[in-house]
Amino acid sequence: MINQQLAEISNLALVVTIVLYVLALIGFGADLASSSQRRSDARLAARERQEAEQEAQPATVGAAAGHTSGTTTGGSPDSADAKGVADAASAGDVTDPAGAEHVAAGTMTAQRFAFVLTSAATVLHLAGVITRALATQRVPWANMYEFATTSTAIVMVAFLAFSIRRTELRALGTFVVGPVLLVLLLAQTFWIVPAAELTPSLQNSHWIYIHIGVAILATALSILGAVVASLQLLQAKHERTLAERAATEDFPEHWGRFGHVLDRLPSSSSLESLSFRIHSLAFVCWTFTLIFGAIWAREAWGRFWGWDPKEVWTFIIWVIYAAYLHARATGGFRGSRAAGLALAGFVAVIFNYTIVNTVINGLHSYSGL
């Protein structure tokens, strides 16, 4: 029996969750914008000091640049000095990853505000998922709506788990909360269905716990992996640009709008190894999804594999991720090209989840729409 009251509470909780995520996203966005502002201020200040140095020549100017040698003898400063200045300017950002530089501890910064909101929203999000499960007395993943709310809840929990200890990862808030919010909005507007009992094809089978549970885990890992792989690509581009500019400019501008964010993140090679670890787990989960799905299909339809569109796309996802793992071990494909394959895998995940569920008709009555 469906407990309608609980079902309504669940709905309400998720709507409020969405509102909180919107506010959190604004907070994260403001944080990005302000740290961008701080960075360009710092760069400007560095340049002004540099110019002051040049003008003040040959007077002693060491004080202006703080720790740099400051003994400029020629008309132009040598490039080592210039870098020293730039480094000093960026040190503030790097050493205080919480983005709270110049702000006393305990003060509410945009990022801290966003993070607190995000945590509250995640708790509410989980509450929404759990009340849905209680209302229907079954696992909260029997249709697209529930799949979306549950898997995004897992993404958020994983993000909080990572970023509670490593505060520098909180700068990623925008990139995690953004997609999650998008999925929740889609779920709440297009995929929402009333809380209901299971259709016969989903009943009587523990495989709904195992197969779909693992699929949710795999999807959540794919989402996280895609976020990390995209950042890896951006970071690699950023590093290349910085290296090029450092060769020609005294004050290398950061690449693109997010250069200052990328400055705070780990190097592209450590992002690559993080991405690899996430994707290895994801690949194992996808392999289990395939195997358990095949076992369930045999129990339900009498054949373990029938090239149903959903099966085709899970196969495609699996093959692309296998190609990604291969690419990492193939000369000339490591790094950015492999990351490209990981993202291709993610595109297939999205396709499988949206188009295949809604547009292409197959045996999988799963979408519940």
Partner: protein, 575 residues
Amino acid sequence: MSERTTSQDPREKSAEPGAGAESGRWSSKPEVDGARAAVPSLGLRGTLLFLWRQLTSMQTALVLLMLLAVAAIPGSLYPQRSVNPALTEQFLDENGRWGEILDALGFFEVFSSPWFSAIYLLLFISLIGCIVPRVGVHLKQLRAKPPRTPSRLTRFTGYTRVELPGEQADALIESARRSLRRSRYRTEVREERNGRSVSAERGLLRETGNLLFHIALVGVLVCVAGGSLTSYRGQVTVIEGDGFSNSLTQYDSFEAGAWFDESDMPDFRFTLEDFRATYVEPGESGKVGEPRSFEADVQVSTPGQEDESRTVQVNKPLHVPGASMYLLGNGYAPEITVTDPEGTVVAEGPLITVPMGDVGYTSQVVLKAPDAQPEQTAVVGFFLPTGTIDEQGPRSLYPDAVDPQLALTVYQGDLGLDSGVPQNAYEVDLTTLTAVPGEDGDPVLIRLYPGEEYELADGTTVSFDGLRRYAAFDIAHNPFERGILVSALVAVGGLILSLFVPRRRLWVRVREADGTAVLEVAGLARSDDPALETDVKALASRLAGAHDGNRPPDAASSGHPAADADGGHREGSAQ
């Protein structure tokens, strides 16, 4: 494997020393001969070898994997004949010439098309060509001793050097060896010029797992192929109260692999005693009329066993030795009796109707009475579990038999059964038939409730005597299923080993000078291995601690002012 590959990835080179060395030879050849002569000089055998190496290279595997993914896409976008033949025909009808072109290219049978098959066969040939040499190399490696300790350890990960005055080199080495053994390293103690060292290695399981994974994939493919040659699958429809015994003639449709042997079909029979369905009722949550449960009670008898009552449900198939039975469909079988104008009963009993796919289970009725006189007769129309007839015509509002009724029209003429073309029992060609008119001259629409009878002007009668349900089952067997499952599970097992077992080498060296033992420890990661550095340091501190009154390595220097200026404990880690 090209020169580029091996030189950029030292891991791979050492994993496959044979391949690495050979690729060096091949790629250096054009430089010697000059680019012009490169290919011809290989000769036939050389060219084949060259192609073989290309096929079994990592790049080729990568490209083939991507091709496989791309080639599978049309299989989900176009209807597939093997999955949904009706939809395929419809698509062909609607798309004319374009459909024909796609059909010729195999887009409606993607997964058995020549191009798809070519890709996966090449992939698996490449896979086998890749595995076989690697198995050889790996077996040799399993028997080989860990490689000798490099002379300079400073460049390696977690390099730690500790001076331990008054320590015995032999005792240190022995406890290092024991400690590494306990952590499941393979170890080898070596005498060196002025000291001894332990070289240790762990994680060969990683490569074992990787090989297991790839071999198991071949196993999956072989078992799938075996299954498609030997399996069978058929559909049966059984009305409540009726029975079924497992023989080819009883099936509505049946497919089997080329090596299937009819005599292998298990001997079993069953009677469908009851079929129950429940639906979402008005007022309940969910879409009204959506099914909630389907259950079929069957009485099964297998040779040598007592009869058993079992309930087959969706997701709960019935397994008998050698076959499984799945509940995949259901519908209504109204009992209809037809008498011709001469008073002869020409049709009697439950008639299987075909649900049209709407929520209300509006079902099509086609009844053919070829023996009716003076003309052959067909009764065509609908069975409505909860019926209504309005401007949209007859339809059912709810799937359960709340208000069951028949809406029928009687046709007479030639059923076309003599043409020799086999006919679908659930379809009738109306072009050679005419509807029996009523008094006003229009075709009569007969509406019947259970227990009612209708008599047409010409004396034909139709009666609706009762209602039963039927269940549709698939009966299938694939002798290779177990093999596929086992291979797949071995594959994941191997995969997990291959992805998560770190492969590493570790070295401990002790030199003695002036009564002081100098301990050096370092490691080399041969896979992603973030824990290596801490593990190396932990080992060093354990060794130093255990042999120096349980003090951590830093303490070793503080208590001994004679230690060198750096504090007696120098740390350096490369990379």
